[in-house]
Amino acid sequence: MARVGVFICWCGANIASTVDMEKVTEAAAKLPHVVYATNYKYMCSDPGQKTILDAALEHKLDGIVVAACSPRMHEPTFRAVAAEAGINPYRMQMANIREQCSWVHGDVDEATAKAVDAVRMMVARVAQSLALEPIKVPVTKRALVIGGGIAGIQAALDVADGGVETILVERTPSIGGKMAGLDETFPTLDCSQCILTPKMVDASRSELIKLYTYCEVEKVDGAVGNFKVTIRKKAKYVNTELCNGCGDCWHKCPYKKIPSEFDFGVGNRTAIYVPFPQAVPNIPVIDRETCVFFKTGKCRACEKFCLRGAIDFEQEDEFEEVEVGAIIVATGYDLLDHTQMGEFRYGAIPDVITGLQFERMSSASGPTEGKILRPSNGEEPKVVVFVHCVGSRDENYKEYCSKICCMYSAKHAVILKHRIHDAQAYLFYIDVRAGGKGYEEFWKRACVEEGAEYLRGRVSRVYDEGGKVIVEGQDTLSGEQVEVAADLVVLATAVVPAKGSEELARILGISTDKDGFFNEAHPKLRPVDTATGGIFLAGCCQAPKDIPESVAQGSAAASKTLGLLSKEDITREPTVAVVDPLICTGCWNCVNVCPFGAPEKSEITITVDGKKVTRAVSNINEAKCEGCGLCVATCPGNCIDQRGFSDDQVYAEIGGYLERVRAAKNSD
């Protein structure tokens, strides 16, 4: 018989007000295996933990059940307590009587009965639990950062600062992300390029940072501490060893009218191009889709003019496998495509643009050299309407607030006034969200000092008529409909996860929230971790944020990474699957279903009737097994079991509950 102690937590009034502590304790004490049961106000507090320690020694416990909050909250805490008390941590189980009981059920009798059942089930489980030892795996001291925006750059710099080699994978030809395209930045109006380019250069100069631009992550195997990552290096058709970035090629490329991705179509680029003059690395790539040579077989102008012979039309995509111990995902954001919104005429009006297009126009290094112009006719706009919350806070599109657009719209209004003194800005807003250092002051400045007209209400529809964009909105404060005949309309469109995020989530095995942003492990306490060990998040890929927050999260992810990689080896959960080789028939069902390639075909030699027989059987690689249990449930011969989630444990739980049910059923 096991010697189990049951510790029931009040969580102050959180549990105790709905679950009758005494009744649960009484019921627990009567259960088989249980030698001690008690309750306490806050089990996770120091005195609470001491209660467990003392009881463990006094009653010679070899198993513990803590009936308290969710194991997702305090399992690590109580496992540590168990270990301290000399009990194997995997013989500690938590009965969730808070999140899944007291907080969702109002009736004291019902909630108490459910809590008792939960304790019964966990006691039965503990009695069936084997002592497990965590698995130790050596750590690869190298990090991977995916996405070279400001968040990724900051993370890479900080990891490298900690002395760890870092691979920075960026899918466009240059690092820098959206910030590289911004004009001045709120709330201080310092020039984005001026503060970003030094960081980009640092990243390219660092001995410890390897830039993989124009590359994408193709496949990720392994687990925390030892990921094997396959990187696709897209063909640049330029030999990066030979090229010195002189620019002769792109100046000579005859195909000049390709809308530039970096400029969001405000400017053009050539078929061989660097996205922007300050690009890092400053080495061009040929865009296969638009290059005349690839389309028609004629041209090769760039090749002719390249004095260094760097053009190489024969290049093909290459794949490289790298091993890393941790991964930081910093793939950033895109803007919601407003051409899916009918009220803005599905993008049919050229003078309706997005915030990022405005940034490219107002940026001194942009295609218009800082001149804000009407795309329809190239004239200076005098009346500009900025529309907040386009597709944000809207159940038909994105329910959430995009967080940065109130501030950048205010910034745009200020910049407009600085560039075109007699221009008038109108801003349609619902609330101005300016919670940051200096932010409130900044929007006040836009409104009071720079004369921007704030109208509290949404825009219903825009029309193009007579060369103007008619904006129909509401001023809810006066209760009047307002109409502005604008020269330019700038939409603060919703921030959405970068294209391809879903695919990347799948490759990495991490989850996304309802809006497609990557999920953090805990919204408050683990905002940079994912639920998958060794994978961290930084920047807008987790949720919309501005530059200071992206940088902060980049640094936070770096410190998490350094913490992880500072260890010689890490421990992995021992809840892995194990094959019984004696009964395995070698059907390879497990090999086929395992998403992580953990079961491996192997051989055993056994002696049957004095004869040695060699058989092909499955063997599960502990370092790869993530403990999903799929193979266990799939093996037709029941040859696999899972440590920590064994069949016996699950059946014990079922039994622990239904025994009571059967007893009750029989009595009526």
Binding site: E343, R345, D464, I470
Partner: protein, 297 residues
């Protein structure tokens, strides 16, 4: 294709030309229209304005009286009311029970309610329509006006885009009109107030007329008798009030389709439009001649 035909009240009076042209076009396209025995008024704005049960029971009567499995409704307002009724009666068992009490018979769910524009634009393949065209619209400039009820609300009506519908535009392009992009295709004309608050009609319809004139259209193409009567009957007075020059006939899409299919203007009821349509017809004819000429030469 066979449909129960629900002309609605106006097609039997103020909008006879819509009825005539719809029947003619359907005949040419092989769409058989079967009259609904004993159909009643859908109740229009008034019923749903003031009495919910009435607003559902009147259309329910007509739907239940239909003999075919689908109804073709040419009037956008009727269509909207019938659709609303069908959607809500299917979703809400309680309401349905109430309505059935009023009807004194079970509601016939499962009859598809379709607008005539939807049927012609989406069920008949473009090449089949093309094959029936004997002439073109000769490149006349038109704007298509859908009005508010044809495509709204999203989950009830929508056979086309709610903000920027295109079904009628496609048909008119097929007929060889120059279809102009204009911004007021789904703005309400104020039909509900045609007799009670004519000032509201002036205001709302005025905006539409002004916009159509500004776009430089030769005609406004419509798919709703209420819209047509507002744009047509009240046009002289509205334009006078707005101090705008010009006249712009509001014609049904079926009339223009029918014209291209070789039906006579009389058959299509062109003469029943209050605003003079002869300049439009002239333009169509001269446009046809122009496009035909080089082909001969």
């Amino acid at each position: 294709m066979k449909f129960s035909y629900y002309p609605g009240c106006t097609l039997h009076s103020t909008a006879v030309e819509y009825d005539l042209s719809a029947r003619a076009v359907c005949k040419t396209l092989g769409i058989e229209l079967v009259d609904i025995p004993g159909w009643a008024c859908c109740g229009a704005t008034s019923a749903h304005s003031v009495n919910e049960l009435l607003a559902y029971a009147l259309p329910a009567h007509t739907i239940t009286s239909a003999t075919e499995s689908a109804i073709a409704a040419p009037c956008a307002a009727c269509y909207n009311r019938l659709r609303y009724t069908d959607v809500n009666l299917r979703e809400d068992a309680h309401l349905r029970a109430e309505v059935e009490k009023a009807l004194g018979r079970p509601y016939r769910a499962g009859v598809a309610v379709r607008h005539l524009l939807d049927i012609i634009a989406n069920d008949v393949p473009a090449d089949e329509i093309q094959a029936k065209l004997a002439g073109t619209l000769g490149g006349v400039k038109v704007v298509c006006y859908y009005g508010c009820l044809l495509t709204r609300p999203r989950d009830v009506a929508a056979f086309d885009d709610m903000e920027e519908p295109r079904a009628m535009d496609r048909l008119m392009e097929l007929c060889g009109a120059e279809v102009l992009d204009w911004p007021r295709r789904v703005v309400c004309c104020g039909a509900a107030f045609s007799l009670s608050r004519t000032d509201v009609v002036y205001h709302m319809t005025g905006k539409i007329l002004a916009s159509a004139l500004k776009a430089g259209a030769d005609a406004v193409v419509v798919a709703c008798p209420m819209c047509q009567s507002n744009l047509d009957l009240r046009q002289p007075a509205i334009l006078k009030k707005l101090d705008l020059e010009g006249r712009i006939p509001a014609v049904y899409f079926t009339q223009l389709l029918g014209l291209c299919m070789g039906h006579s203007r009389n058959e299509l009821g062109f003469g029943k439009i209050m605003v003079d349509t002869s300049p439009l017809i002239q333009k169509i004819n001269s446009g046809r001649a122009e496009t035909a000429a080089p082909a001969e030469g």
